[in-house]
Symmetry: C2
Subunit: 422 residues, 2 copies
């Protein structure tokens, strides 16, 4: 076995052992570790920023782009946000021990389905150092040991943040191995997490760009909770209230363009009043959004600012102030368009027609379907789940926002009085 | 692309298309298909038994063993049991559309988590032809398209049963591709299901012996619901009622020895009265069970019929009238033994001491933990879940008995009144 494989195996064994301890740690202990880590982040702010400055300098010297540098860079508010995030996770209700269902059988056996940790969660991420704190905190709260593997360009930052998490664990009397950071930039470590650690890792969570997530989903030999792409749609029905539609379309597209819940395609009912169509497109253009429309929409509006959409636009997650727009034949046309081009993430219908709304909600096969609300509500915090580790576009285990409850498994606890089976 | 890969791809595409139809089929339609298939099984009994006779003759000629022949062989009662099974699945509550949780946010968004099908379920099984009917029925009830791949020795039987399922689908107006049977015995088809159909198969369920399940778990590139092994334990505490302990131990081990919920190891509290230990072991021996005990137990009982257990016995799933037996140091000793040697399937504690029971239930990390009840209750039917496709020893998505609800995913349905995000 080579050096990296041996390292990862030893980390995996330590994680399994720590996970067994952590699964039995009570809520107060886990929260004490989270609060201790938050305090350490504040106390070690200087050291974290110094480590981060070295990472940023290294990334600049390596010629990395501005977007990556922005994701990499920390400042005092960002460190404070991490500390606050840890405190918020501490305040979440404890998922462990929650009775998800209970019933009594005719033979008087009392059966409970009780939430327990998944075990060991592996997190593979890119340049954002705050994932170290966020993901570590969600795993800790949900009683899972974490193996964190961040991007090489943020190695010093991650190590400094990880030291704070360890300080929190130590203050609570928990094993340091509850949250481990892979100490090498060698890419073989990622290969081990994907393929070589079936005995130690219960689930992998990739956090980052599309190519990372796609690679993990394609190559992993352990279960993955992956968030691949949010090609989200807003469908404005003929029966939509115009001002509501305008507000929802603008918010869905432009509140933040870089989030996975941002709308990327506007579908308009071909039977909608021309004034409604005009209102929506004009509002987008005036807000500075590029509109790429199909031929029918362009012909009706006759506005030279509207560009022509090509087939590829219907598939595209712009993550920018650009929106594709098309006429569809009513709610069924919208459902068909979304089935063909969508990524099953989040879609919204705007209509005052209850039957059309229910048809859309029932037939659109996405993790989140909304009626008369912005797609930008696709967020664990907005769902009331507290922090999230991502929004799953998988169907297995967890779909939609993944908070601490989605990082659990369950067991059946059965209480009897001497029952035997006939 | 070779011929098998092309075949499996085309089956996968057909399954995805059928799954989209099936997801929208109402409960009555899905139940009509199940009842139609049950009627067809009864009507085609002769053809099924003739096909099965040919399979059995082929298996005999190929020199296959008696255990396999027994699993392969059908008779009139077994065909009737399949038909009854389909009818029972039809009677189960519909999992689809079930609101698993709902809440309202401070901004008045109403959020529901609603059960939806997983999509396409691939089932890989061995010689039992009844799996064709059972697995097909569970998938149909839960709105999932199924791709069934049975053992080559049961090919004619599976095809005859599958024809009945198709008759039921046709009678209900559902696409034949809702339940497909892989028409080739070429083992490359299994390889495609494991590795080449990520775009079409949402989850794989291996049904069969340990080597099949282990292979699927090791090689699959799609999620797996796997049931690997049931090395189940009964722990009899010093505070156990002797007669209750005797009944539970005998039932856990001997009611049926070949099921995954059968107890394989008896753990006895070293502090238990000698008479209790004597009672339990004597009862097992008198019932014809071989007992393999550790040195302490053998020394205390001094019974020449008791064999010596070796280290390997603590790991062994006998599936036979053999039990390993050991003294442990109270409930914590039992927890430690189970953590070291168990398979996280099902374990029971017998005690009148509530604190000991709760400690065991909380700290034993198995899919099912019982207090004062037989391990043989590890069964979807006994849990009130109706039929089951297996008992998962995985932690991801589904753990314990896997019934129709465990074959679902969910989506979030959000109803608003114009909310946009700040």
């Amino acid at each position: 076995m080579n050096e990296i494989a041996a390292l990862m195996k030893s980390m995996g064994q330590a994680a399994v052992s720590a996970a067994a301890q952590l699964a039995q740690a009570d809520e107060a202990t886990r929260n004490r570790a989270l609060l201790g880590a938050a305090a350490a982040l504040r106390a070690q702010r200087g050291a974290i920023l110094a480590a981060n400055a070295a990472d940023v300098a290294g990334a600049r010297a390596a010629g990395l782009g501005a977007a990556l540098l922005d994701r990499l860079q920390l400042d005092e508010p960002r460190v404070e946000a991490m500390a606050l995030g840890l405190e918020q996770v501490a305040q979440l209700p404890d998922p462990l021990g929650k009775v998800a269902a209970e019933w009594t059988r005719p033979n008087a056996l009392r059966i409970q389905r009780v939430l327990v940790p998944l075990g060991v969660v592996g997190i593979i991420y890119e340049s954002r150092p705050n994932v170290t704190a966020d993901a570590g905190a969600l795993c800790l709260k949900s009683g899972n040991a974490a193996i964190l593997r961040g991007g090489s360009e943020s190695g010093r930052s991650n190590a400094a943040i990880h030291a704070c998490l360890r300080a929190g664990l130590a203050a609570a009397g928990l094993a340091a191995e509850c949250i481990q950071l892979v100490p090498t930039a060698d890419r073989a470590a990622v290969g081990e997490m994907l393929g070589g650690m079936r005995d130690y890792i219960d689930v992998l969570v990739p956090r980052g760009g599309r190519s990372l997530v796609a690679r993990v989903q394609a190559e992993a030999r352990v279960p993955v909770i992956g968030h691949l792409e949010g090609n989200c749609h807003v469908y404005v029905d003929r029966d939509a209230d115009p001002q509501m539609a305008r507000a929802i379309v603008l918010n869905s597209k432009l509140r933040r363009t870089g989030v996975c819940g941002a709308a990327e395609t506007l579908l308009i009912d071909r039977g909608a009043p021309a004034a409604l169509t005009q209102l929506l497109v004009a509002a987008l253009l005036e807000a500075g959004c590029e509109v790429r429309a199909d031929a029918g929409l362009r012909a009706q509006l006759g506005d030279a600012r509207i560009r022509a959409a090509g087939e590829q636009d219907w598939y595209t997650e712009y993550l920018d102030a650009i929106i594709a727009a098309a006429f569809v034949d009513g709610v069924d046309g919208a459902i068909a368009h979304i089935a063909r081009y969508g990524s099953s993430h989040t879609e919204s219908i705007v209509t005052a027609n209850g039957a059309s709304a229910e048809r859309f909600l029932a037939r659109v096969d996405s993790a989140i379907v909304l009626h008369n609300a912005s797609t930008q509500f696709a967020d664990g915090g907005e769902f009331g789940m507290g922090a999230e580790i991502g929004i799953s576009t998988d169907r297995f285990h967890a779909r939609g926002p993944v908070g601490v409850e989605q990082l659990t498994s369950y067991k059946y606890v059965v209480r009897g009085s001497g029952q035997v089976r006939a």
